[in-house]
């Protein structure tokens, strides 16, 4: 890859700077890159949002569809999260079905939302045992400049807050008409940390992801509860480090939640 050597050099610089608690782009250790939010990006989606986290660019669209409930929860709908690392997003992404990284990304975002109980699955039921709403949340990564987890969870939350429920007539969807907004009782978000040379930073950019030993993502809600955790990378965390990350996750996610005024 043509730019590979440059990323190697940047990564070396990251490791060097972190020794004196500095970052390559001049941010504080616990400072996010600037966030830009554009909701209602796609009219054909029932809800959509494009997020720019620094140069990371993510588009999420939501489609509501009717399906038969799962046999073990006949009075509930559900959510499905998919993620596509589009090949335009990075020289190393290849076209094709979701790989390990895309699958992990989708599943962690899924858990963060699902387990927060922000969406009451019982309210998605239409006819018990027969019909329920299923919320399809599809994540498209357009540019990978680092921290796809947080960018995707921000975009997913933005899209869900924008989601309208299609109108039903005789239990069938009326196209282009809506019966109301999808109810979201809280705003679950992921906060991701990287451990580089023994130091913790939030919102790692590409060079920092290259330099990091390990990654920790924590899903939180505004009630100071955690809905998901995921450690990644071949390095490790100590208990003290994890506890520090938890504290920071509550703090940082509250700052991010302010970008979404509604609800």
């Amino acid at each position: 890859m043509r730019d590979d050597i440059l990323w190697e050099l940047r990564s070396d610089k990251v490791k060097e700077l972190i020794k004196v608690s500095q970052r390559l782009d001049g941010r504080g250790l616990f400072e996010y890159r600037p966030v830009q939010i554009e909701t209602g990006f796609s009219k054909n989606a029932h809800g959509s949002c494009r997020i720019r986290l620094g140069e990371t660019d993510v588009i999420v669209g939501v489609k509501m569809d009717i399906a038969e409930p799962y046999p073990d929860s006949p009075d509930e709908g559900s959510i499905t999260v998919g993620a596509e690392l589009m090949p335009m997003a990075s020289p190393v992404f290849e076209p094709g079905p979701p790989d390990q990284n895309a699958t992990e990304l989708a599943r962690v975002v899924d858990r963060c939302i699902r387990e927060s109980k922000a969406i009451d699955f019982k309210k998605l039921s239409i006819v018990e045992g027969e019909k329920a709403w299923f919320v399809f949340i599809d994540i498209y990564i357009a540019n990978d400049a680092g921290n796809l987890f947080d960018a995707s969870s921000l975009a997913a939350l933005g899209a869900l807050l924008d989601t309208k429920i299609p109108k039903l007539e005789d239990d069938k969807i009326v196209k282009g008409e809506y019966s109301g907004k999808l109810e979201l009782s809280k705003k679950p978000l992921l906060t991701t940390f990287a451990k580089i040379n023994g130091k913790i930073v939030v919102d790692p950019a590409t060079a920092e992801e290259r330099a990091m030993d390990a990654r920790l993502s924590i899903g939180t809600t505004e009630e100071a509860l955690m809905s998901a955790m995921q450690k990644g990378g071949t390095g490790s965390f100590t208990q003290a480090e994890i506890e520090q990350c938890i504290e920071l996750a509550f703090q940082k996610s509250d700052e991010l939640r302010k970008f979404f005024k509604v609800g």
Partner: protein, 268 residues
């Protein structure tokens, strides 16, 4: 069902356009930092992003062509970009569009200069209302220029067709759904008017085809102007930034020449 008036007494279409009028088009080059070339396009309700990589070594080796670069065009639609959720798996339509669009660009690119390589062009549609392949191809050609890939000309595309007996430019979804609809996506290299993409569906006479085709050529020329403006704007912005930087340095040099003490005092 209410009868749709495709063209009213004033000659205006469903969305208020004239017969020979394109929908509003906005193109922004260089929007993705990790791609070597990129572009974003809005064409009416259609929204697409394009990223370009290459020329880079074609892998696996057996696909390499020692005489030229392979143009690998991948057109995909997001699941939520259409009225009914689309499966994330590529469908037959997407595969066909990828093929003809890649072939269209291969004519414009100096592929013979880059043997054994691929030029990868990845396109994704995020919102749609008829004409996405033309929007995508138009944006892709801007992204190729943004990547600095040598080309004979830009490729400019637009669709032309017929609804309710009227030949019209750039059909929207409702017009495409007219019972007598003819849809003809067209792409040319505007400098020479060589046709590099042509598809058609619907039934049409020779005379009507000629009328439609000539209207389509005019549409492509308009698209060409928008593409050129978008690319020029990008370089104007770069030039402005450069000019500002030079001005800044000049100012500093002037200060130093007027007051050499500044140098001895180090950076202030």
């Amino acid at each position: 069902m209410e009868e749709i008036v495709y063209v009213n007494a004033e000659g205006k279409r469903i969305d208020g356009r004239k017969l020979d009028e394109l929908r509003p088009i906005k193109i922004i080059p260089s929007v993705l930092s990790r791609a070597e070339g990129s572009a974003y396009i809005e064409w009416g309700q259609n929204k697409a992003l394009v990223g370009v990589f290459g020329p880079r070594e074609a892998i696996p080796q057996h696909i390499q062509d020692p005489t030229k670069a392979i143009v690998n065009y991948v057109y995909r639609m997001a699941t939520f970009s259409v009225p009914d959720r689309k499966s994330p798996k590529p469908g037959r339509r997407e595969i066909e569009i990828s093929k003809v669009s890649g072939e269209a660009l291969a004519k414009a690119i100096f592929v013979e200069r880059f043997p054994n390589t691929t030029i990868d062009i990845y396109v994704h549609i995020f919102d749609s209302n008829a004409g996405t392949r033309c929007a995508a191809l138009t944006a892709a050609s801007v992204a190729l220029a943004d990547a600095g890939i040598p080309m004979r000309d830009l490729v400019s595309a637009c669709a032309v067709g017929r609804a309710a007996g009227h030949i019209m430019l750039d059909l929207c979804k409702e017009e495409e759904d007219a019972t007598d609809a003819v849809d003809m996506p067209l792409a040319i290299m505007p400098r020479t008017k060589e046709v590099v993409l042509l598809q058609m569906d619907g039934i049409i006479s020779k005379e009507e085809w000629k009328e439609a085709f000539e209207l389509g050529l005019k549409g492509c020329q308009q698209v060409y102007e928008i593409q050129k403006k978008a690319l020029k704007r990008k370089y104007e912005e770069i030039a402005e930034e450069e000019a500002k930087a030079i001005e800044h340095v000049d100012k500093q040099l002037k200060e130093i020449s007027e007051n050499p003490e500044l140098l001895r005092g180090g950076n202030k």
